[in-house]
Subunit: 604 residues, 2 copies
């Protein structure tokens, strides 16, 4: 299907917007009037620029407060419209969006509205222009899409149709099934925006918090399915007002926008039983490994050893070591500056299929320079720059990344408390939280869970967990909701069968590796739950949900990275978010203490 | 009155919060439980720290979901309370806040609630603790303050009273006059927060958008007046959840908080006809001058000359020139790096009184190193660092700052189009918009107008005008609402009697000084209004409101500063905000063009 986007959805000057939108592969644009008004480009120049970039001008918008007014106001409104028709002719635009009036001049009279819209359509016809009438969710008298359609039908003019906008329909809780009552040829345009579920004034919600399909909570695939049922053949067009997108990189936002439309088209095709435009997601079945880039002489190896990991191999061609414990595998790649999570290996039933899926959703596929003996690794870049490798670890049907590692004499994977990687938490760049959520949902087929807010001593964080349906792959995305002074921490949570024993061993042998938990936390825990006193003694944190219980502990931080050890019991589904404020405060305290210690011993 | 603040209202660790709160002069704190839980300080250490800082611990909060539950839940809740009583004894806190329950366990039964709260108060009494029961605005069954009071009265225990919270009362639109039905000795605590008027879910509104009294739209002076009528003698205590304050400097936020309480105490005293704690505001009657710091060889003088200003004097002791036109006076102080607005002279009927007022509201008073012949200038620092001088220009009753300037031969103030400074616009630092609004309101007695949002090509700006009642002093405060990539522009708007003639003269003689306005703007203007074609020809912008009309133009920018020339007609009250997006886009375009021109002619 043809894909368009309103210029208001991305940042920059009109010229910058058009360039970014074209580069992302869109077919057309809606020219948002304010973007034209403030532009030094004439309408003719915009027309030429769009043509050169391969973009059609699919809509000019918005024209406000036109219909159902007293006769004297009507004359002025028609004169205003004539001026806009002239601009549209210069632009080469042939479709004008008219929003339902919010003016105190407007009269609650459908027949009058229809009569005046008919007059407008007749005038528009003289310029080869058509009118798409839309119900704003906060329109004064007309705010339901079926009401707008009733007026359009009453007006009965070939140059008058309706514009459907998912935000205006779904934000009011209207049932979109009524769309099927509208003949496809009278749906002149379809505008799409998603939004998070916010209980707020709909105008504020609309102007600041819209997002791309798949980033919010609306059922856009359902709405599009109804629209396609009418026989609509126009574009899927995004119109998103978002405070973050207004200042983010326009090229990146445009790609994110296009990704959202491709995924939406796929979802609608599945609903309708037609052939999806892209191959299906290949859902990973777990983590094959996590790769940390570390400096040459780094204590992370010591930390891993203390956690019970054993160095089981070294890469045949690179300064990379493999550390294992149970099914948990960590690679230490000694080419970094400070410890950071550089890559994740994901177990995929079909690595090539995983990459094809990612590519079809515009994710950058990473070139792999293979040494003759190295296993082929299919890899893509996640939105925060983390490399994702799709692996089949030691399956007979596929080469394994472990083939590149020479086993070391001490090599057998050890028995130990840790069984596998439970989840990985990544901090996303500012303004790209929604993009990341869409990426993990679309490319990896993960399911988003509720967004949470977590207070840090110096600001609020936002956190969203995403997991595969069976829970085998769990990711947590964090972002600094306010401020930018936080370290973009990343962490690897290691699952464990017996965290009490593991904690006891660690505390005895390496007490300095564990993040201290304040005693006040345990006083509060004892007030809330009947928990054994050994939690306090061992520095274990505790949470529960309706399914089960969760015990966890954190290590100190090395560079940007720390480890968590977790034990889930009885089907607990969360991530201990209730304890995150304790962890954040302890990390700040530990960092401050270390800085002051380093300040007094500058030789260290 | 005693002044307190909840630790959640400012940023940092608990230790950092206490230090900042004490430094701002507070008498006490509410310990917000989460701040204690995540702190490495034991309750005993917090108690000692607060004592050493001269802070009382006036409240421990919150205790949630206690009342009106089935018997088995009650037993657990009482055990939980006993644990909290122990913590409070270690802290030395004797008042516990209990919020009305939001739990699904809670039963809608006032008698049961009263009975269980009575039991809790009885247990608390054993520890020397009192209970303040508060209606949360989103409480499950109890969400009105008079409902909470009815339950407290029914329970009838000396250790049980109510806590009044301005946010919970006013956010629901409840009439606070009912407070006078409560005996003062049963009002155990008073929590204060203001908030902007937002149509959103009250829980979200409360958790993110509260602000200090005077920064929002609630009538807090009215509420406090009712509370004082009851005979209440406890503290005025701030409890503010604000995303910005969470990450702003704790010391600065604490001062802002204290300033808000002093101003609130004053306002309440005026309502009650008692003696206010601070001297009254001295409202400036206009601008005496604006002082720009400029580099030694700077084209700003040329720009002023082009605008019709004449250099009428030089400072006797500093590299400062005085430029005049009508009553508009600009000082160029050649000690800067790039042109920036460094100071404003405000005409005050009583300069010493102006400073006393500022000092009583905790504004920094600037030391003035006077040369023997220099006039005394009373000056303070505004929140963005701009220096504000209080002046009496050429009044017989006071020395005048102009005495320091030696008139130059060409010296008489010229006749010209410009009559005076209409307004000055300053860009405020991020997170300090509310602080600035409170400063201008409290210290200078200006009245805030509505906040506006202005789209810039690269983000949204927020803008609020403040003016004296007679409009003689007008300020505009701007802030980058999202992102931080904007230049912190400042501008001086010069009033003019005949802008058409002025514009014609400027365009003929100095066309390069005027910011270009896109032709598309005039196409739209012609569609909306019947305006003369000379506006387009002269590059004038146009706006109107219900009172009158506004014509204006902008110069190009020098450093951080640009000038606007404005003509108000028929009592227009605005600032041409509708045209600000055009101006912002033109400034970006002009800046980009100049950069590219400079890039191709590196010798320039």
């Amino acid at each position: 299907m043809r894909k368009s986007i309103a210029t208001v959805s991305v940042s920059g000057t009109l010229a910058e917007k058009l360039t970014a939108i074209s580069a992302a592969g869109f077919d057309g644009v809606e020219i948002f009037e304010n973007d034209l008004l403030v532009s030094p480009l004439s309408p003719e120049e915009v027309r030429a620029r769009a043509r050169d970039l391969g973009l059609g001008i699919d809509l000019y918008q918005p024209f406000r407060d036109f219909e159902a007014v007293p006769g004297d106001v009507l004359a002025g409104n028609l004169r205003r419209a004539e001026r806009k028709f002239e601009v549209m002719e210069r632009l080469g635009a042939t479709l004008l969006l008219v929003c339902s009036s919010v003016s105190p001049d407007a009269i609650d009279d459908d027949e009058l509205a229809a009569e005046q819209l008919r007059l407008l359509a007749e005038r528009a016809a003289g310029h080869g222009i058509r009118i798409a009438y839309e119900a704003l969710a906060w329109g004064r008298h007309v705010n339901e899409y079926l009401h707008a359609w009733r007026i359009v039908r009453m007006a009965d003019h070939p140059n008058l149709g309706t514009c459907l906008d998912s935000f205006h329909i779904l934000s009011r809780g209207s049932d979109p099934i009524g769309i099927e009552a509208i003949p496809g040829e009278k749906v002149f345009f379809l505008q799409l925006a998603d939004a998070p579920l916010l209980a707020m004034d709909v105008l504020q919600w609309s102007r600041h918090y819209r997002c791309f399909p798949g980033q919010g909570t609306f059922d856009l695939a359902g709405l599009v399915t109804h629209v396609l049922e009418t026989g609509y053949t126009g574009p899927l067009s995004l119109e998103v007002f978002n405070d973050g997108f207004r200042q983010a990189d326009a090229g990146r936002t445009s790609l994110d926008a296009m990704r959202s439309l491709i995924a939406l088209e796929e979802a609608a095709a599945r609903r309708r039983g037609t052939t999806p435009p892209i191959p299906p997601p290949v859902i990973p079945s777990g983590f094959a490994f996590a790769e940390l880039s570390v400096p040459a002489a780094d204590p992370t190896a010591e930390l891993l050893a203390a956690l019970g990991f054993v160095r089981t191999g070294t890469h045949t061609g690179k300064p990379v070591e493999l550390w294992e414990q149970g099914q948990a595998r960590i690679l230490l790649n000694a080419t970094g500056d400070e410890p950071a999570l550089a890559a994740l290996g994901l177990e995929s039933p079909d690595p090539a299929g995983s990459v094809k899926r990612a590519e079809s959703l515009l994710s950058p596929v990473l070139p792999r320079h293979r040494a003759p003996r190295e296993a082929r690794l299919d890899a893509i870049a996640a939105p925060d720059g983390t490399e994702l490798f799709f692996c089949r670890t030691e399956h007979p049907d596929h080469s394994s990344w472990t083939d590149d590692f020479r086993p070391r004499p001490e090599g057998a994977p050890p028995a130990g408390g840790i069984t596998h990687i439970d989840h990985v938490a990544l901090t996303q760049p500012r303004h790209h939280f929604d993009e990341a959520a869409l990426f993990y949902r679309g490319v990896l087929g993960l399911r988003p869970q509720e967004s949470l807010e977590v207070p840090d001593p110096y600001g609020l964080l936002r956190s969203k967990a995403m997991s595969s349906e069976d829970g085998a792959l769990r990711m947590v995305l964090n972002i600094n909701q306010v401020g930018a002074q936080h370290i973009p921490w990343q962490h690897i949570a290691l699952a464990c069968d017996d965290i009490v024993t593991t904690a006891r061993r660690l505390r005895a042998a390496h007490p300095g590796l564990l993040l201290p938990v304040p005693a006040n936390y345990y006083d509060d825990l004892a007030a809330r739950y009947d928990v054994p006193p050994e939690l306090r003694e061992l520095g274990l944190l505790y949470d529960r949900d309706e399914h089960g219980e969760f015990l966890h502990l954190y290590t100190i931080t090395a560079g940007r990275v720390f480890f968590e050890i977790v034990q889930r019991a009885g089907g607990y589904q969360g991530y201990g978010a209730a304890n995150a404020p304790v962890r954040l405060a302890a990390q700040h305290a530990w960092g401050a203490q270390r800085s002051s210690r380093m300040a007094v011993t500058p030789s260290a």
